[in-house]
Symmetry: C2
Subunit: 414 residues, 2 copies
Amino acid sequence: MALIVQKYGGSSVGTLDRIHHVASKIAEHKRNKHDIVVVVSAMYGETDRLIHLAHALTPHPDPREFDVLISTGEQVSMALLCMALHAIYCPARSFTSSQIGIQTDDVYNKARILNVKTDRIKSELQKGHVIVIAGFQGITQHGDITTLGRGGSDTTAVAIAAALRADECQIYTDVDGVYTTDPHLVPEAQLLPIISFEEMLEMASLGAKVLQMRSVELASKHNMPIRVLSTFSSGPGTLVTFEDKIMHKRLVSGIAFSQEEAIISLAGIPKQIGLEGLILDKISQAYIEIDMIAQNTTAQDTVDFTFTVQRREHSKALKIIEDVAKKMGATSVKTNAKVAKLSLVGIGMRSHTGVASVMFKALGEAGIPIQMITTSEIKISVVIDEAQLERGVRVVHQAFNLDQRPVLAENYIE
Amino acid sequence: MALIVQKYGGSSVGTLDRIHHVASKIAEHKRNKHDIVVVVSAMYGETDRLIHLAHALTPHPDPREFDVLISTGEQVSMALLCMALHAIYCPARSFTSSQIGIQTDDVYNKARILNVKTDRIKSELQKGHVIVIAGFQGITQHGDITTLGRGGSDTTAVAIAAALRADECQIYTDVDGVYTTDPHLVPEAQLLPIISFEEMLEMASLGAKVLQMRSVELASKHNMPIRVLSTFSSGPGTLVTFEDKIMHKRLVSGIAFSQEEAIISLAGIPKQIGLEGLILDKISQAYIEIDMIAQNTTAQDTVDFTFTVQRREHSKALKIIEDVAKKMGATSVKTNAKVAKLSLVGIGMRSHTGVASVMFKALGEAGIPIQMITTSEIKISVVIDEAQLERGVRVVHQAFNLDQRPVLAENYIE
């Protein structure tokens, strides 16, 4: 008998039929004598409907009241799910975050969980009930309602699992798990049975389609394994866990990518201490988010500085940078508004050199120029033309044999 | 400066435009330096949408979860109303019944309020905020969500007003107030500036379209005057208050009526102690609600017994009664499934005889046979053919000069 926290996302409870389906899955786990705590999202589309309502009413809805409004979505789905469980004679009780005591800070619309009380959950579990809790929300110390931001239900589930010291936190979603890359782009992409927290975090854009990144950080912090599973098919999904739990480490685990990026380069900036800060100062003052940064100092007296922003902020950022370039005496500003980022992720590359060269060689042989490179310990990211992204992902995917299953021995590092 | 509790019903907040309109009304009261506590219903149609959702999911939704579900309707409207208030720079904060502490018993779907905490309301009022509270709901001592039944927001408003010892409880609705009779039926019906709690309670069917009867009982118990007003027009509405606050008492205040009734009579039942109980026992066992009861004992050894039920339960009730009649040896069962009840209500008739005869004479002269009569201290009800209801209401309305405004002196009793 295990204590399992399960989270069902908006598409999993998107229709009444799906709610019945989820109820039958939960009841089956319950029959297997597990203790089940369920965290549920709003029905697909409901949160958007409420947000639309608020913005149709007033262009700048009060943040406190905005959370009061949109938190109702999960309350609706938790009640419906419990009704569906009752209908198949599975005893269940729903609770809001206020009733459980999921305490957050008071940053409305993107609150962070500070503490989860477990006494009510434990006493209800002892009565044999399935507990269904509204995800995505909490209360401040004054009892005001907060929400955690998009995808916050994942974080709720992990926080509750950590507080209860659950055996596993299962995230049920509409995909089978985490893949070596996006199967929509590369049909040969393979399901990863296991991945480390760090890799999952570095997968960012790819992983974010499956799990909210903050929930992965939280799970990593509390050593709470997460299993990503499909609500609509059987299969073990992907276990996201600590690196030392992974017996067979892969050299690389997957390829993430993000589109809609833009690159801006300043060349020949006369050297001065703190010039990087001066460049980015104006950008951050304009609330433009910067993704990648790379800097070269090949020349003796000048520096080249390159960064990427989201495409929709490109023209705004470029205008600022042209002004900055003039003031700092840079020789030129180069830019490309139609680029994409391709990232190779794997804990194995930490101890193995040569990964980068295999990647660059594959891209080079495919005739794809690299416009920028950044690296972290377990990730190599390159910027390429967006038009060449799909081919880029494919050739790198093949270069590391990620399309082969079972995965070839040579791809394991221990 | 006064402390005013205002309740806005579902049609008052039925669209975003109406929510803006209500916000401007509230802000105006606030500018007049009043302390304002607002109780709000779900947007028109929302509660029905949620009920439909539950019943589409399962034929017998769990009562606890049903309340969790439908209580979200008011949470949505209170948040939207506060946003609209913020948008016009009127500081406002919304609170669920859990946040305020509106404690009820644990009878889900039709809970009764036991206690209203006022400390949070008072401290927020001191900060200069308009307080917006979700109507229709409460929490049990264990913190479970309950709802108060249809129209429960009126009761919430009165309970809060009573707990705060507010100066007035204003119920904003889509009618101008309480009329002498239904203006849809009798266009000459007049708005009553004032009416006693007892009359309002006896107006039942007529009053229930304006105010939930339980809220009138509660207001009467706590001596809390209620003012019924229109959200959509100005005007003083109708003040519902204690009899001794009414300076000029009318002989009669209004004519209520209800359609969709059916009458069943047993004639010639041999006398026996407790026969009334025996007759109604089977009816109540079948969960059929009885409205009026009249009994005559003109004959020496037999009794006539007449009662009314709602029309939709007529055939069920008739079948039971035919069986009962046979067992008890009644000579006949008479019935009419298409009758209506017409009730004349007025605190004045308590001390004045002759009201009944004026009423019966008016009906007689109009050629409308009376099929049944019952009386209470301030009410006379008759059953007539439903086809004659409209004409019956008109002639009685005229007989008491209820269609004249300003009301004639002779219609006042002091």
